[in-house]
Amino acid sequence: MTGVKLSGAEIVVEELKTEGVEVAFGIPGGVLLDLYDVLYKEEAIRHILMRHEQCAAHAADGYARVSGKTGVCIATSGPGATNLVTGLANANMDSSPVVALTGQVPTSVIGTNAFQEASTFTITMPITKHNFLVKRTEDLPKVIHNAFYIANTGRKGVVLVDLPKDILAGEAKVDLHPKETFAGYKPNIKPNQVQIKRVVEILAQAERPLILAGGGVISADATVELRRLAEFLSAPVVTTLMGKGAIPESHPLCLGMAGMHGQVYANRAINECDALLALGTRFSDRTTGWQLDQFAPDATLIHVDIDTAEINKNLPVDIPIVGDVKLALSEILKLLEKKRAKKSGSEWEKRIKKMHEACDSCVEDIPREGASVSDILIKEISKILDDDAIVTTEVGQCQMFAAHYYMTRKPRTFISSGGLGTMGFGFPAAIGAKVAAPDKKVVDIAGDGSFLMTCQDLATCVESDIQVVVCIFDNRYLGMVRQWQELFYEKKYAQTGLGVTPDFVKLAEAFGCYAERVEKPEELKDALNNAFESGKTAVLDMIVGKEDKVLPMIPPGGGIIGMIGTERCKHI
């Protein structure tokens, strides 16, 4: 299309449609009236009215993680935009593609402390991959196109577009759908062949190979290649929190999550391997622990990542490969498959298998104090839900119980706030997840502390008929911090007791949701079924032990083989 005269708001909506946007999560406001006036007539874009801007950002984030498409959120100027900040920081930290559109006061009054003015452009600069403040209506086609291009290429992330009112209201004759981009933005995707050959040699010769799969494997849709490589090499796979689902956790080669709250044997495997192929991960301290001499000390460390800045950032690596994980894995497989496949049954595999089985059996023998049932509940949820069901989590103990015990079987079905660790993320992310995958069951594994931070969006669910199930692990504590106080601060529970908490069943019912209290694990199955069959958004208030602890764990300052709470893991 060339040279059409449109208003700024019309241009924005036209370009959104061109980018394939089908849904946006947002809240209108004074400076966005022109944009919402166009959206009012627009049938191709479903707008979901959220009850807090933070939730709009989390919902767009959840939508993006489940669908792989770019999530869109909209907020007005000033408080609308500042409320978005946590959600955007969260999405950006976990490399989730999100485009945020914010209203801004008219260009003529920017910088005058106008009503509902905040400098969104400067506030969001350090928490986005890129951001724009649009100064001319005719720039809109290029800006919107680039926002989507930047958000969903290279290392994915958040792009914010700040839209002053007069830019949206003004008209311009523009060419829609430009292809123009930035000279300095070249998302590096083709891996170096020389490095690939070196990696193939190392992997072919390794006696104790191990693959560490991060979130990059999922976001690059490289899970098929990962599985092929693991099977060809008979190499066990451990994942990060973000990598959960990169390989089915029921696969015999999958050791589950490594790191601070990971599986003991997954951490052991990292310590003992002689070649570690790390894919799409940034070696966060939650994965490596703090004693780096325990992290793969005897291994050739290979790091594949799309972001050059991640290479040698947290750990010095032996062979870096900058590029798309999917491409890199395909190239490695192409060369490797000319060689003979590794036979299964190596000493390494036997060792891993022994550790794995030993741990699985001793988990059942945990001495239980009182109502300590959190792990049982997660395993129960894992059993009840089908392979396609999506689990989102809040942050804290509930999250780490889920990360440790929930068996993720498919990519993009375990959605959690990894980098930022945002309490209140899980529920709005579940809303986004359900909108992206309406036919799948969506369950938010929540804590009572986290859920209270964003629970007002139950209203959104009821109003927009978005059926998610919130399972609250109700212990009346900010559990993870309490756990640290118990273990490392002489049980001084400073400000972690929640005291009088609301009756979550009544709270949910007041919003028009289905709700039920689950006092014992054996009641969970029926309760979950009732929730799914209610045809409503549902909240299950699950009573768990007040002083449940997520163990084993790497204590702060410790290394990956220095986990505490492993009394029951003596045999490894």
Binding site: M125, P126, K129, H130, L133, F182, A183, T308, A309
Partner: protein, 164 residues
Amino acid sequence: MQTHIISLLVEDQPGVLTRMSGMFTQRGINITSLTVSPCEKEGLSRMTVAIKGSERELEKVRKQISNLIEVVKVVDLGESEAIVRDLCLLKVHVKNSEARSEVMQLAESYGAKIVDAALDSVTLELTEEPERINRFVDLMRHFGVKQLFRTGVTAIGTGAGLER
């Protein structure tokens, strides 16, 4: 801690400077000097940033700055392989004619120009390597430096002029 000079080619857009400097701020790295100016290509600007920091720290920041969408090119100029210049304007106190002639002699030996003179002061201009300017300024302190202005360093790679 070594001084590093980073030369950046960036899109001439509002906000680029904040984005770039934010990368240093976040890591608590102090920028010792900074110059921004037009360059040979239209629509692009060149920034020359001098910072003190370890090699490892600098390597991380350099990569993260390269990631900025509006940064077209980043070159780390080692001091040995670059021509580095700083421009200094300083107003020196001269209490009598003896001091005045001494200042003027020293200025001449350093290649500094006299750009203004008053009864009790002389204003000098010197374009040089930063270290040589430091030495010159130190000398002038004996007479009394009333005001000192420096532009901060700008630098260009030696040889054929191709940036690495």
